[in-house]
Each structure stands twice: as structure tokens, then as C-alpha cells.
Assembly symmetry: C2
Homo-oligomer: 420 residues x 2
Amino acid sequence: MQTEIINIGDELLIGQVINTNASWMSEQLNLAGFPVHRVTIIPDDPQHILDALKESGRRSELVLLTGGLGPTKDDLTKDVLCKYFRTKLIFDPVTFQTIEKFFKTRGFPVTAVNRRQAEIPENCVAIPNANGTAPGMWFEEETAGAEKKHVFVSMPGVPFEMKAMLIHEVIPRLKQYFQPVIVLHHTLLTQGLGESFLSDILEDWEANLPANLHLAYLPQPGIVRLRLTGQSDDEASLQKQMDIEASKLKSLLQDYIFGEGDATLEAVVGKLLKETGSTLATAESCTGGYIAHMITSIPGSSAYYKGSIIAYSNDIKMKELGVSEKALGEYGAVSEEVVKQMANNVRSRLDCDYSIAVSGIAGPDGGTKDKPVGLVWIAIAGPSGIQTNKYLFGDNRERNIRRAALQALNLLRKKILGQL
Amino acid sequence: MQTEIINIGDELLIGQVINTNASWMSEQLNLAGFPVHRVTIIPDDPQHILDALKESGRRSELVLLTGGLGPTKDDLTKDVLCKYFRTKLIFDPVTFQTIEKFFKTRGFPVTAVNRRQAEIPENCVAIPNANGTAPGMWFEEETAGAEKKHVFVSMPGVPFEMKAMLIHEVIPRLKQYFQPVIVLHHTLLTQGLGESFLSDILEDWEANLPANLHLAYLPQPGIVRLRLTGQSDDEASLQKQMDIEASKLKSLLQDYIFGEGDATLEAVVGKLLKETGSTLATAESCTGGYIAHMITSIPGSSAYYKGSIIAYSNDIKMKELGVSEKALGEYGAVSEEVVKQMANNVRSRLDCDYSIAVSGIAGPDGGTKDKPVGLVWIAIAGPSGIQTNKYLFGDNRERNIRRAALQALNLLRKKILGQL
């Protein structure tokens, strides 16, 4: 079975908007058992849309379209779909009720232009849009000799409208219609080890995985997501297999796994602080506020985060963080002794349960032979004492800042859990 | 003339990698006078690649391919190009010299696999790759009745290799071969006004623009880029037209323009601080370290940035920033009086020339009728005194943090320039 995606929109062809819809849709469809074989971007032009429909209809059993469903004159998809299927637009009262409700909630009247949104090609089934006014549309086309009809699904191009529609409406219908093989996924999030080191640890386990299961390494700077995927005709036994292998994976990588699914380290740490009724302060040098920013990006973080002293210069380290002139002179700003003083002092000055301190050389300049770019010291202080760790990251400033921040948050997570 | 892009790679079809190449290439090609009419993503599969070549060759005068040029068995593009053009691979000594040099610089020997990178289809011209071992390839194909031959260009998929090759090698050759109309661009960066407010100010000016010039609004959260584009056959007179209109634009929007081209506000402010030999401190509440992070993302920022006190809780505002209990009690943390004290006190405590202070309600919770989510007070202090401003942004936490930080940096820029 072949699946393809057609994204319609001039904005995607002039570089104004990156086509994130295609990669997101590909991932979701792939995870649901519908691997994508082609993505096509075309302009808001009726001939280009018609050509793309004809070509994809010849090639693929399933075609998903996005874009061109708005109420303005640029939005041509519905008209071209009518032409392709040799049908006409009709007024759909059920869709109109949804549109009326949508505007009523927001206190606006339904204009003539918005009323047009309730017009859909006669041969389609409308798919509800929970977040907007343009309905999705499901078309089936007879194909000589094929067991199932071809399916075309047209969806809005606005990402949050399309995403909710694909997940809650379209994929369930596709599963029911095409009955693809059952695919299950379990994603574990790791911090602190690169892809090749993780695969060394997992080598034996991977070699002994059942043939219907496999592991994908999905690296981002500082984080590697591990996605275990299984395929089977029997969901219950597959779920059992998945649970067994996921728990093996967890015990092999227990020092590095910080969460599952879509979690972030800053949210995981925030939840732990909230649950334990603890407070946090930070003292940052080379990360320059990035740790504070990550923590405060979580809504409600004021419940556990009191603040930070960002000491980019040595005199601020002394004056605001009480780091001794002796330590700075003897060991330098990037040293175990200095991060220790930073962590202990910010914890007591800001009167918090936990503290993080980071000092390092983010680069690209400022490195020496003894202290190269990428060298970072991290200290974590808490009721049970203080721990320090030394890291040597790479030569990219942005990535060094991000890796140091993630590492510090993961150390704090372990500290709160009593694993440090 | 029709132009299209074909991106080859399984990783683009499973959601692992977002196809940023396509939007970047579209933008560059569009800016160079080659608007893109179609983008196609296909898997590392010889039949899919061959089909896509045939289809695009029928449709378009110019086809740019990326991907599948590496030395491994997944990399099939060269073989399929040979099949399409009915030719064979030959060893190219010039390309091999480049590859040898590439490895020699890095202290590695050239393996047999790498030697294969110097094999190219007999009918193409090799395009040098400044950042890698896989050469680009330029193909011309006879087309019945066409004035020019069709052109196919194959490039590596690795973004930094492809980008340098497209800009420095491919676009100059395309311009010479196709001689498209001359297109010039001038991008001005604005902060502080939304798209619709900018277009109100520019309405008359836009209505009177020469017919060969037009303005594009490219909004990002907190920033709108304005790109003036002109087309002509005569570069000198076009440049003159562009200069005249760009200077009109600058005088109409002088309060909002902070830079040109690819500049960022944090780099512009950093440069001003460096040039004037000034130092900066920040005191952040709702932005939670994001301003400090932006400033310290610039290499060499330690020359002018001393640090920040992030006072997320009121007791830190009092203890570390010397904000009076009276001001907090009478006016609340989000008030003119409190940001004034924050800015003045952080400036004197950290002994800097300039300071920024921000306090607001980032949301999504914590708003009241008098102080809704999105309310932000900003103070800028410097040798010439202190200014405060009040803003009401939206209801999205992430965007509120970003908009407040950008606004604060732009106020600082004006302050240093004596425009505040």
C-alpha cells in the first residue's frame, strides 16, 4: 500500500514557512502503520493542484492533502476536488452548525464568507474540525481491480487544526478502513550519553530483540530519544512483548533515562520539585540564564523556583555569590571549588532546598590547553549535601550551553530522587 | 520557466528530519529569480527516484535534487542519474584531487569507498563541494523546440554542504545560463509593531511604489522582517530605485527598525555596548533568564555583560534587588515603581553603565482584572537616567516571554543611541 502527502500553499514555496506539517504527518502516519512514500508541495494554483491529484491517484491508495481550505479567493482546493471527482459543492447543514457554534462561542456573527465553509463536494464525508471552521473531507474513489477503494483526505493547512484532526478523526478512520498491521510504540528519553555509547550498552539486548520489534535512535543536542516499535496482528501479545523489552531497556539505561513519551527534563524536574514541596535556586556562569529560562518556561514554575544569580564576571561571582577571591585566584572561575561555593552560597542566600551551579567555557574563544572550550563544572546542592561533576563537551557554543543545562537538570533530578 | 526541487531521503519521510533544505532552497532560488513551482520528497529507492526524474523532466526547465550522494549502499542518486541519462559512471581526476586534499587536511587516508565519490556520470560537469567529499553535478538535456536545454543539478543533502554549494556555485551558474531578470532585495528588521500596524503606516508609501518593486511582510513572534524586492533588466538603475525606497522606509519606521539583513537584536545591542565600552546588567522576573540567555548567546558577550539577578519570587526581589516592601505591597510586583527599583538597584549593585529590568505576568495563569496575563513593565536605566514602559502582550506564555525580551533589548538599543 502506497501513501502520499500533498501540501498546498504558495507560502511553502517561497521559503516563508518551513513545511513542518509534512514531517509531523509522516511521523504520525508511519507510527500508525501507513508509511509515507512521497510528499509533494505545490502552489495555490488550480492546474497544479489538479495535476498533483491525478498523479497521486494513479500511484497511491491513500492521499492526504493539506491547505487551500480557507474562505478566501486563494483557497482553491475544494473547487479543484470537485473538478477531479466530477461533482459539485453542496451545503452541509451539520458542518454549518459547527461553524455557527464556533463563532457564537467567540461572540462573532457568521458572515457570508464563513457560510461558504459549510459547502463541500457532494461525494465526500465531512470530517469535524475541533479548532477551526474549515471541515476536513473524506473521499473514496473506485479503482479497477483493487480490493479497497482509493482514499483521499483533505485537511486544513493550519498546523494545530490539522494535527488534532489527523490524530482524533483521520487516523482512527484510516485504521478502520485499511486495517493495517498493529503497530505499538514506546519512547524512552535519555540524557548524558551519545548515540554510539548507548548502542554499545544496548548491543546484546538489540541482537536478541524479537524479529517484530526494533529500536530507533532519535538524537537531539544533549538528548537521545529511544523509540521501541513493535508490529503484530495480535495487540495483546504485542503489548506484553513491548512491556518486557521496555523494562529491560530501562534497567540497562537506568542512569540515563529521565522520562517517557513527550516529556521534557524541565517539566520532569518541575513536577518532582512540586511534589516534594521543594524550592530551587540557580547560579549560572557559562549557561548565562539558559537553565533559568528552561525552568521558567514551565507554567506554574513560580511555585518552586525562586530565582538565579547569573554571574558572568568574576566580580559578580565574588560580590553576589560570595565566591572567595582565593578560590578564583588559585583554581580559576571554571573549577570544582568555585562551582561548589556558587551552589552552596546561592542555596543559602536565596534560602532554597536545592541549588544548581554551572561554570564552564562555552566557546568559541576563551579556551586554554588546561581548560579547553567545552569544559564545564556542575554542582548540585541539597539537604543531603553537595555533588560536583566535570564534563568536556564540544566546540559549539550553542550546543555547549544546551548540553550543560540538560546535564545540570538531570543531575538535579537524580539528587531529588536520592540517586546522586 | 518552471523550477522544481526533489529531496531524496528516507529520513525525510518518517518524520525524523524536518525538510528545512526545501524551504531554504526555495527562498534562495526565489530571491535569485527562479521561483519554485514544486517540491517533491521521495525515499532512497531507485524506482521512485527514476519516476521523479522523468516526471520533473517533462514539467520543468530546471530541476534541483538533493541527497543520496554519499558513499554508502543507501546512496543511489548517481546510479539512477546514469540510468535516466543512459550513461555510465567515469572516474573524475579533478574531483579525486579535491577529495584527497579534504582527507589529507584532516589526517585521514582515502579509502576505496571514498574513492568512489570521484566517480560521476559521463555526461555531467562536476561542481566542487567546499565542505565535503561528494561533488555536485550539472546535467543538460536536449529538449525539442526549447530555446535552452533543460538543466538538472544534483547536490548533497547535508545542509551546510548543500547551502555553500547552492550559493557559491550553483546560483551563479544558473544566472549565467538562464539569464533571469535581475532581482535585488533589501531586508529591514523591525521590532515593536505588528504586521497590520506597520502596513497602516506604510499604506501611502506602498501605494506609490514603482511597479517593479514590492514589499513582503515576514512576521516572527515580536519581530517583523520587511523585505523590499525589485526586478529589472538594468541593475544600476534598480539599485538606485531600491536605495531611494529603502531610505523612505527607514524614515517612516525609524522608531521600529533595529537592523538589516540577518542581524539579531542581541547582536546589534552587543555591538553597541562593545563599541561604546559600556557594561550591562539585567534584573528579570517574568522573562526568567531569557534576556540573559539571548545576550550570552553572542560569543564574546562577557566583554560587556556582567550578569543578572533573576528574582522570580518577591523575597528575592527584596533581598537581592533591594526592592522595598512598601513598593511591593502598595503597587505589586508588576508595577512601574517595582521595575524602576529593580533597574536602578541592579545597575548600582552590579556596577554597570546600563541595566534592564522586566516584571510581568507571562501566563497562562496569574492574571487579574487589573493586571491581566500579558501585562509587562520594562525599565531601562543608564547614565542619562531611567525610562519605564508598559506593554500588554497576548495570552501565550512562550510568546510573551519572547516579546518582552525583544522589546527590552530594543529599548536598550535606543537608550544607548540616545533615542529614548
